[in-house]
């Protein structure tokens, strides 16, 4: 057991190779890029809204379609059922998410520069923790907004949760909810991290004395 832990510790301190470092650097860039794209979009059709009401969710903001007007309209309609206004200042996520994305980018860059498996593992763990937590908080917020309805609302509706993914009919609205470019960038980051880890794992797990494969030679030579 101790031997295994020792072996792992040794392995964690081994360099990950250039391919993994490149993946990490690219991931750092993509994580920053994701800040500039919407993560999620909700589009709501109703007979009175043939052009739909649109809401883009960024890591730092809620942006309504039609020059921001759609968000006001969504809030206006929601006041009839006693839902709180979707206000940017009510979301702590919009403060910590850009900060966390920046932190992740730095973590990836650090791993790329220091280049040992240890830093790579930190990056992977932190990213998946961040991703998981973000999805949970998104879902939880959706649930809370749909359930914390004012008891004095003009129109009483049972609590509901807007869809996280796909279509849901809510009263006269057909609501569609899908991930957007920002989320796809984050998925790409996840893929890059997994690739970086697999490459690094295979490289560091090579028995001592075995000649590096051709590809490793080339990468280490540069």
């Amino acid at each position: 057991m101790t031997a295994m832990l020792e072996r792992t510790a040794t392995r964690l301190h081994q360099p990950v190779g250039l391919a993994s470092r490149a993946c990490l650097l690219l991931a750092a860039v993509l994580v920053v890029t994701a800040h500039f794209f919407p993560l999620w979009n909700l589009t709501m059709f109703a007979p009175q809204y043939p052009d739909a009401l649109r809401l883009d969710i960024f890591d730092h903001a809620l942006v309504g379609g039609n020059g921001g007007q759609d968000l006001k309209e969504i809030n206006l309609l929601n006041h009839y059922i006693g839902m709180r206004d979707l206000a940017v200042e009510d979301f702590t996520e919009f403060k910590w998410m850009p900060f966390a994305l920046g932190g992740l980018a730095l973590l990836f860059a650090r791993a790329a520069v220091f280049g040992t498996l240890k830093e790579l593992v930190d990056a992977v763990v932190m990213f998946f923790y961040f991703g998981g937590f973000s999805l949970w908080t998104f879902g939880y917020k959706m649930y809370r907004y749909g359930h914390d309805l004012s008891p004095s609302a003009a129109v009483k509706v049972p609590g509901f949760t807007p869809p996280m993914f796909g279509h849901k009919a809510i009263a006269n609205f057909d609501v569609y909810s899908f991930p957007q470019a920002g989320t796809y960038l984050m998925i790409s980051v996840a893929v890059l991290l997994v690739v970086a880890f697999v490459l690094a794992w295979r490289r560091t797990g090579r028995p001592a004395g075995r000649a590096p494969r051709k590809v490793d030679l080339e990468l280490t030579a540069t």
Partner: protein, 621 residues
């Protein structure tokens, strides 16, 4: 026997006479001529149905801006469906949009509650509609400007000094420099001057004026005026391209008659078209020539020669139209069977050669024979002419109740289509610009004579859509338009770019508020200001209290930015109804009388529209 024979003969004669009478009777009661029944067969109906059908949700190709005559409104229709899309109130209050009830529009109406709107004119750039503004005149001597960004009346200018019965208006110059105004009822000027009716020929004055249009805002301002003989100035059209710089206005009553004008003003064989060199007049006014009368610079052509020439025209002319290339001036005497095409080049030559035939109050009269190119035998009662592409011209025939098509240069009638009935103006698609579209023409008829479900003696007007795509004109649609279409402008829909809401950032109203927290009452002495927020589905504050005798100004801001979310503010027992568009602020001022008065949203807005109400509570002193 002889007596019997005689009796038989008389019986036979009587019977024969009876037969003749029957024949005669049947000969004297023919069935209606084919022209007054629909005719044409099923394929035409199918064609007409297809051409005019605009499916639910689909849009029309053209806007029609039709004068609403003495209703004081402008009506907006779509072509080819001829659906009534909207009413733009101009000279009359219109509760449906709250026009004439809020402080600003009430002030703009200036205490008048009607105006006889006549000739809408779309603003032009280089002789083509530019989709910025629509001007329209009325008989009390005013001209209004409608902004086509929001389809709202923005300015009512006038009554213009010295102009009396502003019928010869609001014809516009090709680059929207000026809108013309002109007197139909000559009076002694300035207004307020006395002169007995038997001094009509000398002491009464006709006036032709030009209102300056601000190039950026479109605002109207006093330009200059020209003193004219006391004729009745009727209809005008601006020269374009080769004739740019000139304005042509018909004038009847060259007799300078008074009394029973239908007789006294119809004695001479010719009346006039006044050709005004408006650029020369503009220059003369800028040089300070002429004199100030009634607060405006008035040029007397007897003292400042070269401004106006009179073109003899067929008896009692109504319409005048300049061809798209600017080469021909088409004038029709309504008591003649021909329309005359004057050649602008010949007019210029005659002026250069002083080819005159006398003068009227110092204004040279050009020789008819020297300036006319052709007389087109269009039919009886020719009034107005509009144009299509390739030199096509269309003349309305009031007496014939038809529209004749003919070609510039060929001067021969190509086709005639009967209309129902008694057409006055006609409007072709962009038919008074340098680039007429063809395709469609509307016959604006004075009588509809039961071509509709009977709605009692107050019969609707009729506007017929006519296909002018081919040589053979085809009636496509009977629309029963609001009274009374004097003239219309037809513009391609894509030339207009109207907004759907007033952007919040553009609202600079000093009493505008955007948050219910700012709503409420402020008082200075007995002057009370109430700021109200209108948004689905509450008018905030939902009640407010003032003192009897307070001067109350209510300012309602509709903070919506959503299309079609209008809100009203109807205050019972006060004759107040505001309608506030999204992003707009309107005010109304009134003196409080004691009691409790409900106010509510008059313009249906939402599922809880009925709940959008409140109370004005007025404490007795």
């Amino acid at each position: 026997m002889k007596r019997l024979w005689n009796a038989r003969l008389s019986t036979w004669l009587a019977a024969g006479a009876g037969v003749l009478l029957l024949i005669g009777y049947s000969a004297c009661s023919p069935s209606a001529p084919p022209s007054s029944s629909r005719g044409g067969g099923t394929s035409d109906i199918a064609n007409a149905a297809q051409r005019t059908y605009v499916a639910p949700g689909d849009l029309d190709e053209y806007y029609v801006f039709a004068s609403g005559g003495h209703s004081g409104n402008v009506y907006v229709y779509g072509i080819p469906s001829m659906r009534h899309l909207s009413t733009i109130p101009v000279f009359s209050p219109y509760p449906a949009t709250g026009y004439g009830f809020d402080d600003d529009s009430k002030k703009m109406l200036g205490g008048l509650t009607w105006g006889d709107a006549h000739h809408p004119a779309l603003s032009e750039t280089a002789g083509d509609y530019d989709g910025r503004w629509l001007f329209i005149n009325e008989m009390n001597g005013r001209v209004a400007r409608i902004d086509l960004r929001d389809f709202k009346t923005k300015q009512i200018y006038g009554p213009v000094p010295n102009i009396s019965g502003n019928h010869g208006s609001s014809f516009i110059t090709p680059n929207s420099e000026y809108v013309m105004v002109a007197s139909r009822f000559s009076i002694p000027i300035p207004k307020g001057t006395y002169a007995p009716i038997d001094k009509y020929a000398t002491d009464y004055k006709g006036v032709i004026g030009a209102l300056k249009i601000d190039a950026t805002t479109g605002n109207l301002d006093l330009g200059f005026q020209i003193l004219m003989p006391p004729f009745d100035y009727d209809i005008g059209d601006a020269g374009k391209l080769t004739s740019d710089g000139w304005m042509f206005l018909t004038a009847y009553n060259a007799e300078r008659a008074t009394g029973k004008l239908e007789v006294t003003a119809s004695q001479r064989d010719r009346d006039y078209i006044a050709a005004v060199d408006w650029r020369a007049a503009e220059k003369a006014a800028a040089q300070g020539l002429g004199e100030m009368i009634g607060g405006v610079r008035v040029l007397d052509p007897a003292k400042v020669p070269g401004l106006v020439y009179l073109m003899p025209c067929g008896k009692s002319p109504h319409g005048v139209a300049v061809s798209p290339d600017g080469k021909y001036i088409i004038g029709s005497g309504k008591l003649q069977g021909v329309t005359t095409a004057f050649n602008f080049e010949k007019v210029q030559t005659a002026i250069r050669n002083k080819d005159f035939d006398g003068s009227e109050d110092g204004i040279p009269v050009l020789k008819y024979e020297s300036i006319k190119d052709a007389e087109v035998e269009v039919g009886l009662g020719p009034l107005h002419t509009q144009f299509g592409p390739d030199g096509m011209a269309y003349t309305s025939l009031f007496v014939d109740s038809a529209i004749a098509s003919w070609k510039l240069g060929e001067w021969k009638v190509i086709d005639k289509v009967p209309v129902s009935y008694a057409v006055g103006h006609l409007a072709a698609a962009e038919g008074d610009t340098v680039n007429p579209d063809g395709n469609y023409l509307i016959s604006l008829n004075k009588l509809s004579h039961g071509r509709h479900l009977n709605v009692g003696p107050s019969q609707p007007e009729s506007s017929q859509l006519i296909d002018i795509g081919d040589e053979k004109m085809k009636i496509l649609y009977d629309a029963f338009t609001e009274p009374e279409p004097h003239y219309a402008q037809i513009v391609k829909a894509d030339k207009l770019k109207p907004i759907e809401v007033y952007p919040k950032e553009e609202n600079k109203h000093p009493l505008a508020i955007w948050d219910v927290k700012d709503a409420g009452v402020t008082r200075v002495g007995n002057k009370v200001t109430v700021k109200i927020v209108a948004v689905r589905s509450t008018l905030t504050p939902t009640s407010f209290e003032v003192q009897e005798g307070d001067i109350v100004t209510v300012a309602v801001t509709n903070i919506e930015q959503t299309t079609d979310e209008l809100h009203g503010f109807g205050l019972l027992d006060y004759n107040i109804n505001l309608v506030v568009d999204p992003g707009e602020t309107k005010t109304v001022t009134f003196t409080a009388k004691k009691g409790v008065f409900p106010y509510y949203c008059t313009n249906f807005c939402s599922a809880l529209h009925q709940e959008m109400q409140g109370y004005l509570i007025v404490k007795p002193r």
